[in-house]
Subunit: 159 residues, 2 copies
DNA sequence: TGTCAAATTAGAATAATTATAATTTAAAAT
DNA sequence: ATTTTAAATTATAATTATTCTAATTTGACA
């Protein structure tokens, strides 16, 4: 964990930014909650434990900065809040997500499944791909198991 | 166009909703701007020409309703606003998008390129897919042509 | 025609995010 | 060590998008 923070520190320095105590506390929260998809508000509340004097605006600014550096990705699952998701170190692309329309769980797929699709898109649409966002909406393995076949037909997306 | 509206009308009726004048005006705006990715505010301003007395809240409610019926899809490209995109009639899945990080253009891919990927996901993650969202970020064919090879390396995402 | 539920309206309220102005911090230069 | 300077932070205000509320209107149908 310390080494990971150090590498992020170097990334910041290489772009002439500093790793201030507030920024460090924010990064630690993200590392400690790598599995989750935290909103800025969520991060703020967690960071307050480490650095009670921090302001919400600073958290927003820090997350924005980390986005720029590709340390986190900003993503929106349609519930009106932006969420911030740590990118695997060195990953060229954002990972994929499985959003359960029943229980709301968000699972991650770290493998890149889009290699072939991207080749097709670049060739046929003459579009130079830099990154991608892929999210599947459906029923997660936990909820599938909870169900009989009949009930599964009645699901639909809602807010 | 009229027949398309009629079919939407039937869809509404089958769920016990009415096609009120406000709803019809909203649907017309969406049909007339099928290529675009309008925000609720955009739709509101356009609908006002047809039905000046309409309220913004009604537009939101109508768009929400059309989402439920899968006539439109609600999508967010990360700029803080939800946008509403007409679904091709009868399409089982949402279409894909190409977002240009340089000029901001959003192009559509109507073909479903995810068939194989979805099979893998359903099998390996035991996830029952109902729908998907796929967006590529990169440089569109128009901007690629504007550029020399060198300049292309300098692009990055910003807000 | 009267009744009733659904839909709409204007405007208030809420929630997320960004901007502002004053203050603090910390590195670099003297 | 002190001064300088730019960057960063804070508290708070402002803005923007979206949803809620209460009162009113509409329209199908008994």
């Amino acid at each position: 964990m310390e080494s990971r923070i150090n590498r992020i520190k170097k990334q910041l320095h290489s772009r002439k930014y500093k790793l201030t105590p507030q920024r460090e506390a924010t990064v630690r929260v993200l590392l400690e909650n790598e599995e989750d998809h935290l909103s800025a508000e969520d991060v703020y509340l967690l960071v307050k434990d480490k650095a009670p004097e921090i302001g919400l605006a600073t958290v927003y600014r820090t997350l924005e900065l980390l986005s720029e550096l590709k340390v986190v990705d900003k993503i929106n699952f349609g519930d009106g809040v932006s969420r911030y998701d740590l990118r695997q170190e060195g990953a060229a692309h954002f990972h994929h997500h499985l959003v359960c329309i029943e229980c709301g769980a968000v699972d991650e797929i770290q493998e890149d499944l889009l290699g072939d699709v991207e080749k097709v898109v670049e060739r046929n649409w003459h579009f130079k791909i830099k990154d991608h966002r892929l999210t599947f909406h459906g029923i997660c393995h936990r909820c599938v198991n909870k169900h009989t076949g009949v009930e599964q037909k009645e699901q639909h997306i809602s807010r």
